[in-house]
Amino acid sequence: MLIGLLLFLVPTLLFVAAFLYETYLSIRRLWPGRPNRAGYLSATWEVTHTLLVFAVVMLVMLFTKSLDALADAIFTATFLAASALIVRAAAYLYIFYVRPDLKKIGWVDWLFAAAHVAAAALLVIVVCQALWFIYRHHPEINSQFFPLFLPGLAVVLLICIVPAVVLYRTRDRKRVVRFPRNTARRP
């Protein structure tokens, strides 16, 4: 049970941390006079979503035998969160890909930030509901894929380290680049 919970909680916590940081950035953009008003993470968008999918897959695969009851417990909050994620994606595309002036702040930016907050809050509710369900019902864990999971993860992380090393070794040493911003617009 402990290994199972860790497999679900680790990607979930990583996702929550990354998503909360994105939420913080989406709100910080709204304040006039703040640096990086237009700034937001672009290159990490896919990685954050990967973590979400990872967490969902883990939850679903770990508790397949009780999936109908688990789905019942988290259904509404999850779909509301999914709705907020779609709104966030549409606003993101509009702000960073369609609107000519990146520094302009309008209602779409407020919607973008609100969608972040809503999605974050709802996803936290989903995690709490899932944990409560696990605590109350002690569902049977599907451990069929455990022997493959960790070796697979090690291989994948090794593969991902290669481009990360390339990025680190070729970084521009004159400026400190903490996060690539709007890379798709300024590749």
Binding site: S42, V47, F54, L67, D68, I86, Q144, C160, A184
Partner: protein, 444 residues
């Protein structure tokens, strides 16, 4: 409950129909971008590198939209249809895990590929190599998800002993014959449709200029891209036709109900004709315009004219797929014939009379015809999915059993399709902005 099931099916269909557009571009663009980048490096042609860079921006934009629709599908698959994974999660868990890994590799490589475009310290060859990581990630991800679908069509990798799973073999479930057949057929189909659509976009670009300028140096690169894409599309077209034959033979062996419904085969027999067009009435007559090729279905299904094809009379009536797949198949086949003519006409005009190729009607046909490939892919998946009905996991779990019984998806049924339309519109506007920015950059 029937209403909720139908609503859920429609919602899932909407989500998959929307997502598949981004899938086919998400799989093809990394290959095309990589190809143009490599050509640019080998020919030392900065124009080709610029084209690769331009399309990589569009690729990144499409991935953003595809990522969100993919996330929604993952949630719908597990929460709206919990019965599928409740039944088979122990067997089919591996591809889900594999897909997540592949998705992570794709995301990491894509992010780094995009941020290193203008980095002088990254050599062009190293940058190109980073692009291969995106291709590997997206292709592996596509295989994993296709294998889940294949498993739903023909579940393998387990035995049922006394009502419980036994002898579970997750590798056999993931690398089954069905998975390979579906994968080798769908991949060239994606490549073909995306390549044709991009060629179509360039055709429209040339279409908008004056007649005298269309074959001039101003459009030299546009014609070069169209030529390369049409060659690529032709190769993929041939691959799709070959793999379609393999798929047809596979259907005859393993999914006879689907084939019998598509081809209106009522009685199991040999020397069965292939019927293209027409609709079957309740009394078994075929009405409307149609072409009947004697023995052709037997030949396609079994390799000889007297091969037996299973008829619907030998399949329980409650397991018959909806007849709508026959209509979808006929439309799909008509479009495939249209594409054959389009590809043949393109190469004929290109080498015999290039001026006609640059005429407005030709460019318009090339531009519109390019999008037929996307419709074919959509219809192909609709035939696969609707053709499996009434099963969610064939032979084990029906669609009605797989659906959640406690929540009615109709509450969200209106929001998601509307949201997809908005997302699609914003994506198109984003692409338009990239195209305009690129034009300004080129002029300056």
């Amino acid at each position: 409950m029937e209403h909720a099931t139908q609503a859920s099916r429609v919602l899932m269909g909407d989500s998959l129909g929307f997502h598949i557009i981004f899938v086919l571009f998400g799989l093809t663009l990394p290959i095309l971008v990589s190809w143009f980048e490599l050509m640019g490096i080998r020919r030392k042609d900065p124009q080709l590198t610029k084209i690769a860079k331009f399309w990589s921006k569009i690729m990144a934009l499409l991935v953003i939209t595809g990522v969100i629709s993919g996330t929604i599908i993952a949630l719908q698959m597990s929460l709206v249809w919990p019965g599928i994974l409740k039944f088979g999660g122990e067997v089919i868990g591996l591809p889900f895990m594999f897909e997540t890994y592949a998705f992570l590799v794709e995301a990491v490589f894509l992010g780094i590929y995009m941020v290193t475009w203008s980095n002088k310290r990254v050599t062009p060859m190293l940058h190109w190599l980073l692009g291969l990581g995106i291709i590997a990630g997206s292709t592996a991800s596509a295989y994993a998800i296709t294998s889940v679908n294949a498993w739903m069509n023909l579940p393998t990798g387990f035995d049922i002993v006394a009502g419980k799973f036994a002898n579970i073999d997750v590798w056999r479930a993931m690398f089954s014959e069905t998975s390979l057949v579906e994968f080798v057929h769908s991949m060239p189909g994606y490549y073909l449709s995306a390549a044709l659509a991009i060629a179509g976009i360039y055709a429209f670009k040339i279409y908008r200029t004056k007649r005298g300028d269309r074959l001039g140096g101003h459009h030299k690169n546009d014609w070069l891209i169209i030529q390369k894409l049409m060659i690529f599309a032709s190769i993929m077209f041939i691959a799709t036709i070959i793999t379609a034959d393999i798929t047809g033979k596979y259907l005859a062996r393993h999914e006879p109900a689907k084939l019998a419904t598509i081809e209106m085969v009522d009685e199991t027999a040999g020397n069965v004709p292939f019927v293209f067009g027409g609709l079957e009435t309740d009394d078994g007559r075929i009405v409307g315009p149609y072409i009947k090729i004697p023995d052709a279905l037997s030949l396609l299904a079994g390799g000889s004219a007297d091969s037996k094809v299973t008829g619907l009379q030998d399949i329980p009536k409650n397991e018959h797929p909806p007849g709508a797949i026959r209509v979808l198949f006929n439309i799909k086949l008509t479009l495939i014939i249209g594409l054959t003519v389009l590809l043949a006409a393109y190469f004929a005009l290109k080498y015999i009379h290039p001026k006609w190729l640059a005429s407005r009607p030709s460019l318009l046909i090339l531009g519109l015809g390019g999008f037929a490939g996307i419709v074919i892919v959509e219809f192909g998946w609709m035939i696969t999915e609707i053709g499996r009905q009434p099963w969610a996991v064939r032979g084990y779990v029906t669609t009605a059993q797989a659906i959640t019984h406690t929540h009615d998806i109709t509450r969200f049924g209106y929001f998601f399709p509307l949201a997809y339309v908005v997302l699609f519109a914003v994506t198109l506007l984003g692409i338009r902005k990239i195209v305009r920015d690129n034009a300004v950059e080129r002029r300056s």
